[in-house]
Symmetry: C2
Subunit: 118 residues, 2 copies
DNA sequence: TACACCTGTTACCTATTGGTAAGTAGTTAC
DNA sequence: GTAACTACTTACCAATAGGTAACAGGTGTA
């Protein structure tokens, strides 16, 4: 009996690894949405983010932003205002996620519509 | 003191919701990679998948495939062979994720290269 | 003085995720 | 008859994710 060995090409293996890497950086319930909000709005202060990412707790938002900052996707800037305010924005690395973010937004909207049709 | 009310447009809010919906369906460490493998290869049997998604345990693969099947992204077909084999492939709904998957693959590859340059 | 707003932190808890190791049940090859 | 292949499942466990609620330490406003 002949054995079929399925061998993925080098480029496929690299792509799958790339998908995993990307997924790791955007892991969890909120990170992609946070990047999306920053992408659509440009800059956000902590409280504004927490108001627009509906349902996120400050503790969780804080942790997610730290993760994103650590991976150089988000930049945190403390402004010398009274009271102090902090601005979050995407780095150029973060902005380079735009294809993914836009595709996810569009797909999600279509998916939701397709569920309603049923 | 004037208050700035940051109001996202309806379309932005919808996009953020879409991103969250998409993220929910592709949640976890492996789902995006599984969809990617099926996207690049077309069809896969259980054991072939577990060989190509390096590191995944059969229990976890089984659970992820069930989740994806439940959300109509993956189709499971039992073939009447000896021994029985099972094929997994993307549904048309699953195939419609291609933009996201390709973008994730490309971004991940670039990201990895940018890390090596440092 | 009391309250509100800023950006978070801390303590605590639970549910889920993801992992290991082994087993099940049928078929085929040596 | 025994080992190996197919596709899983089961029992068990540890780490993490993510949630609630309260609070901290600063400034400004009534």
């Amino acid at each position: 009996m002949e054995k079929k060995k399925i061998e993925l090409s080098e480029s496929c293996r690299k792509s799958i690894q790339g998908i995993k890497d990307t997924q790791d950086l955007l892991s969890g319930k909120w990170k992609a949405a946070i990047v999306g909000a920053l992408f659509y709005n440009g800059k956000f202060r902590f409280m504004d983010l927490s108001r627009h990412i509906v349902g996120i707790a400050p503790k969780v938002l804080s942790k997610e932003l730290k993760d994103l900052e650590m991976n150089h996707l988000v930049k945190r800037t403390v402004l010398d205002t009274m009271p102090i305010t902090v601005e979050y924005e995407l780095t150029s690395q973060g902005k380079s996620l735009h294809k993914i973010i836009e595709a996810m937004g569009e797909w999600g909207i279509r998916y939701r519509k397709s569920l309603l049709r049923k």
